[in-house]
């Protein structure tokens, strides 16, 4: 805003006073930023139980994160064209990890049977409708309608649906409601660009990884 400091002829005590004031104001801003950093650090440290972790493990994680972040920044700094790819790919990895944590917490709270009831009545039919109407102008609205109607229906029939879901193993419910629909969506998404063979490999890999992951759930 004000840019005339260089034009203003100050020296001696006045200059010291001005510098001290500027420094104090910067200190106030830095205090706020440090408070935020300390707050986030303490909370993250406590929430993840890092106090119980071995110092070497923490060092390895910090080094890995620091080196990879530094590498991405250095790579992005080389050329403007690299920047978008580097930042978006890093953001996708971090975003995916965060979403994964949220999904795990959600599934822990929801329990497999309740999740399977809502997924079976709402999400799976919605995926089918979404895939069945590739060029329809009603694709989004029809999918949303199925999600809402299925959700309401599942709420009313929750007792029946959860008792049906209870007949299957939890890992099978996760595979049927998460892994298989995700593999189908990925196959449909990449098939046009990379071809049927490559898409089958990607979706198949996802399916195998999902089944292996799901069988490890209790």
């Amino acid at each position: 805003m004000a840019t005339v400091d260089d034009l203003t002829f100050t020296r001696g005590f006045s200059a010291v006073k001005g510098s001290a004031f500027r420094l104090a104001c910067f200190g106030a801003t830095a205090f706020g930023l440090l408070a935020l950093a300390a707050l986030l650090l303490i909370v993250t440290w406590g929430a993840l139980g890092l106090g119980a972790a071995h110092p070497v493990w923490i060092l390895v994680v910090l080094t890995a994160v620091g080196v990879s972040t530094g590498g991405v920044l250095a790579y992005a700094g080389q050329d403007e064209t690299f920047k978008l790819a580097a930042i978006s790919s890093t953001a996708a990895i971090i975003g995916g990890a965060v979403l994964g944590v949220f999904a795990v917490i959600f599934l822990l709270i929801a329990t497999p049977n309740v999740w399977a009831a809502y997924a079976g009545a709402s999400i799976l039919p919605a995926v089918v409708v979404f895939l069945a109407l590739p060029r329809s102008r009603y694709r989004i609205s029809a999918t949303a309608a199925v999600v809402v109607a299925g959700g309401i229906g599942a709420t009313f029939a929750l007792g029946t649906l959860t008792s049906i879901a209870a007949t299957a193993k939890p890992w099978l419910l996760y595979v049927a409601t998460i892994v298989v629909p995700l593999a189908v969506l990925v196959w449909r998404g990449v098939e046009r660009t990379v071809g049927r063979r490559q898409a089958t490999l990607v979706a198949g890999g996802l399916l195998v990884a999902g089944v292996l992951g799901a069988t490890r759930t209790r």
């Binding site: 203003t8 100050t10 406590g46």
Partner: protein, 217 residues
Amino acid sequence: MIALPIGLGAAIYLSEYANPRTRAIFKPILEILAGVPTIVYGFFALFFITPFLDNFFDIRTFNALSAGIVVGIMIIPMVSSISEDAISAVPDSLRQAAYGLGSTKFETTTRVVVPSALSGVFSSYVLAISRAIGETMAVTVAAGQSPKMPFYPNVEQNLFQSIETITAAMINVASADIGGNTPAYDAMFALGLALFAMTFTMNLAAEYIASRYREEY
């Protein structure tokens, strides 16, 4: 003692000294502080500020001092953000006029810009204090739940001991097994009235200060 000077200092730095790029980075980061849930501040006070203060004072686990500090930190972004908006809204012509009269940047900032934005700065103070007065969760976690008169036996002693907010006291009474027309039941309404009187007085003061120091350009 924490939020008002630090918030104003940050606002002055961001609007008068920081370059646009620094301001574009620092201001949103500071405003993130406002988005942190208040209970997180409470735990921050309990697990970080209180152990730190314990090195210097004979302090209890739950104490008023760390609660006051954490609430001060909590309202910094409110003061800095609103004050920064008010200071940035001061027309540049006033600054140029001050420089034209031979003022230094320090004089221009402290005698022209900040006084011109005084009504906005005071409004930010009042809003922040009102939020601090109504804060329940952070203070309850940090200061515990021991109701006592702040001036009895003395303020210094009570700073290091557990206290209780008015809102928490009301919740305790409301959730307790207490019949109507008992002193405790009536005290709940008295506490509510006291809280209302405080915030009402703050709002009146804010209105008066805003109208008294308002500058129109």
